[in-house]
C-alpha cells in the first residue's frame, strides 16, 4: 500500500562527484521491489513536488531503503545536505518494478547507464539464483560508483565515455567488445541507451524490460503528466499512452514507442 511518511536519514555520503548515497529508515522497505521508486519531498516549500528516485537497495532486515541520486536541481541539492538523524518526507513505494521471474534459468543482462545504474543493484540482489547475471554499466569517466556492490552480485562489465575504465564508449560497445550474450535484458538509463537496447533486443529476438523516466507530478497515476506512447491501446487510458509512474516505470520494450 502506498503512503506518505516522514522517515529518518540513517547515513549519507557523496560517492562520486554530485552523486549521493543515502540510507533511509522506513517500513516502506517491507514492500519495496527492485525497479520501484519513491517520491522524495524537499522541505523548501517553494519546491512542492516529490522527486522520483529509484530504489538502489533494500536492507536485509527490510527496515531501510538506499537511494543513490545525482544532484539535478534545487530539490536534490537540498537532499544532499541531509545527515544522519534528519527527517525526510517520502511517498512510496511507487511503480511496478522489474519482472524478476522472467530471469529464471536465463542468461541475463542488467544494464545501467549513469544514474540508471542504482536500480540494477537491488535487481541483481532479487533475481533468482538460477539467473546468470551479467551486469553492464556505463559511466562518463573513471568516477565510478556502486562498482563493488555490483561485483558482489554478478559479473560486472564497465564502459566509460572517455575510455578511462573498461570499454571506451557505452554499454552496447561493452557487450560487443566482450562478446556477451543474453536471453533477457533489464535496463535503466538515458533514452538513447534504452532506444539502442530496444533495437538490439528486437534484432536478437529477446525480451527487454526497460525502466523509463519522465517529469512527474503526483507519482500515483492521477495527473497523467508522465506518459509514454504505447504500441497498443493502453488498458487504463484507452488511448496509446501509459502512465510511467503507475503502469511502469518498467515496461516490456516491445510495448512502448520511445
Amino acid at each position: 500500500m502506498k503512503k506518505k511518511i516522514t522517515a529518518t536519514v540513517l547515513s549519507q555520503k557523496e560517492i562520486a562527484p554530485r552523486i549521493f548515497d543515502m540510507w533511509i529508515a522506513t517500513d516502506l522497505a517491507e514492500q519495496a521491489k527492485a525497479g520501484q521508486f519513491i517520491g522524495v519531498y524537499p522541505k523548501d516549500r517553494s519546491t512542492l513536488l516529490p522527486r522520483p528516485i529509484s530504489i538502489c537497495q533494500v536492507s536485509d532486515k527490510k527496515d531501510a531503503l538506499r537511494i543513490v541520486y545525482r544532484i539535478a536541481g534545487q530539490g536534490t541539492a537540498e537532499f544532499s545536505s541531509y545527515t544522519e538523524g534528519d527527517s525526510v518526507e517520502i511517498l512510496g513505494t511507487l511503480g511496478n518494478g522489474f519482472p524478476t521471474e522472467a530471469a529464471e534459468g536465463k542468461k541475463v543482462f542488467l544494464m545501467g547507464g549513469g544514474i540508471g545504474i542504482p536500480p540494477m543493484l537491488e535487481l541483481a540482489r532479487e533475481l533468482p539464483a538460477s539467473a546468470e547475471k551479467q551486469i553492464i554499466v556505463g559511466y562518463r569517466d573513471n568516477q565510478l560508483f556502486l562498482k563493488e556492490d555490483l561485483e558482489e552480485n554478478g559479473t560486472v562489465y564497465i564502459a566509460t565515455e572517455d575510455g578511462s575504465v573498461g570499454t571506451k564508449g557505452n554499454v552496447m560497445n561493452a557487450i560487443e567488445e566482450n562478446a556477451l550474450q543474453a536471453d533477457v535484458i533489464f535496463a535503466c538509463g538515458p533514452m538513447p541507451m534504452l532506444r539502442a537496447i530496444k533495437k538490439y533486443a528486437e534484432e536478437k529476438g529477446i525480451k527487454a524490460y526497460i525502466s523509463l523516466e519522465e517529469h512527474m507530478a503526483c507519482g500515483v497515476g492521477a495527473c497523467l503528466g508522465c506518459v509514454v506512447k504505447t504500441k497498443e491501446v493502453d488498458h487504463h487510458s484507452h488511448v496509446h499512452n501509459a502512465r510511467i509512474c503507475t503502469d511502469g516505470p518498467v515496461f516490456d520494450a516491445e510495448e512502448v514507442e520511445i
Binding site: 502506498k2 519522465e214 507530478a217 497515476g221 503528466g225 506518459v227 488511448v239
Partner: protein
C-alpha cells in the same frame, strides 16, 4: 455543528471537493483518503471520445506551484460510464463530472449521456482549459460564446450545471454574468493561469506545449480575489479553488463568497490534503463557535 452546504439544490456533507484533473476519478487516491469524507469528487474531464492529450513533458515545477499541459487526456464517456461511475457509486460522496469537448455538439453528447445516470449530482463544464487548442478555452474567453454554450447545454442537461471559469480574461465578472444570464446553476473558479517556463540550460520550453496552466499555492491570492469579485457580481453559488493547501486557505475562499472549495495541485504534494482540509474546517468552526458552515459564506467584512 453543521458543515453542510447546498449548491443548486444539491446538498453536500461538507464543502470540500477535488479539483478536476488532480484526482482522476478517485481510484488513485483511495489508498490515501477515505473518499466518504469528501463533500464531492469532481472527476477528470471526460469527452465523448477518448482524447490522447499532449506530448510530454506535460508538467513542470515553478516557484510555489506547477505548470501542466496534459491536454485533457481521457478515456471517453463509454469507459467512464462503465468504470469510473460504478467505482464512485461505492462511496457516500457526491459525484460531479467534469465535461470537456471541442464543439458544442461534443459537450451536448456527453451531457446527454450523463443525464441517464442519477448518481451524477452535477456537471461541471470545462470551457477554460488553457491547453487544448480547439474549442474549450474559446468558449470560456468570450462572453457571448460562453452565453451561447451555457444556454445550449441547459437545454440538454438533466443535472444542474456548473460553468468553470478561466482566469485568463480581462474581467472575470463579465464571464460570470454571461454564464448566469444563460442559466448556469453555479460557477467554479479559477481554472489554471496560463504560464511558461524556459529551461535556460537546454534553451527549451520546459513543457512541450510551450505554455501550461499554473496551479498551486502561488496562485491563491489571485483566485481569492476573483472569487470575491464574482461573488459580488452574481447571485448563483460559487465553488472556489486555486492553490488551496490548508483549511485556512479554504476558509478564505468561503469568506470571500464560495459555497464550496476544491483542492487541486496540493493533492500531488500531500495526498491526504482533502481530509486534512475537512478536519481543519471543523476545528475552525469549533474554535469560532460557528454553528453552520453557510454562515461563513461571503462573511468577509
Amino acid at each position: 455543528m453543521n458543515t453542510q452546504t447546498t449548491i443548486a439544490g444539491v446538498t453536500f456533507k461538507n464543502p470540500v471537493m477535488t479539483a478536476s484533473g488532480t484526482f482522476g476519478s478517485g481510484m488513485e487516491y483511495e489508498e490515501f483518503v477515505d473518499l466518504n469524507r469528501l463533500g464531492a469528487v469532481v472527476t477528470k474531464g471526460v469527452a465523448n471520445v477518448p482524447w490522447p492529450g499532449n506530448p510530454t513533458p506535460r508538467v513542470a515545477e515553478v516557484y510555489g506551484g506547477m505548470l501542466n499541459a496534459i491536454g485533457l487526456q481521457n478515456p471517453g464517456i463509454d469507459v467512464f460510464m462503465e468504470r469510473d461511475i460504478p467505482f464512485l457509486k461505492k462511496y457516500d460522496t457526491k459525484i460531479i463530472v467534469n465535461v470537456c469537448g471541442k464543439t458544442v455538439e461534443d459537450y451536448v453528447d456527453v451531457v446527454e449521456r450523463l443525464g441517464d445516470e442519477p448518481a451524477v449530482s452535477m456537471l461541471e463544464i470545462n470551457v477554460s482549459c488553457p491547453n487544448v487548442k480547439e474549442g474549450a478555452i474559446a468558449f470560456g474567453q468570450k462572453a457571448d460564446a460562453l452565453y451561447n454554450i451555457t444556454s445550449e447545454l441547459k437545454n440538454h442537461a438533466k443535472q444542474p450545471i456548473i460553468m468553470k471559469l478561466s482566469p485568463n480574461v480581462t474581467d472575470i465578472t463579465e464571464m460570470a454574468k454571461a454564464a448566469e444570464a444563460a442559466g448556469a446553476d453555479a460557477l467554479s473558479l479559477i481554472n489554471t493561469i496560463t504560464g511558461m517556463k524556459i529551461d535556460i540550460h537546454r534553451r527549451k520550453f520546459a513543457i512541450a506545449n510551450k505554455t501550461g496552466g499554473m496551479s498551486g499555492p502561488a496562485i491563491k491570492p489571485i483566485a481569492v480575489r476573483m472569487v470575491y469579485q464574482v461573488a459580488q457580481a452574481v447571485q448563483i453559488p460559487i465553488i472556489g479553488m486555486g492553490g488551496i493547501a490548508t483549511a485556512e486557505d479554504a476558509i478564505e475562499f468561503i469568506l470571500a463568497g464560495a459555497s464550496a472549495v476544491s483542492v487541486g495541485a496540493m493533492n500531488f504534494v500531500d495526498p491526504y490534503t482533502t481530509v486534512k482540509v475537512v478536519e481543519g474546517i471543523e476545528d475552525y468552526m469549533r474554535t469560532y463557535h460557528v454553528e453552520n458552515l453557510t454562515d461563513l459564506i461571503g462573511a468577509v467584512q
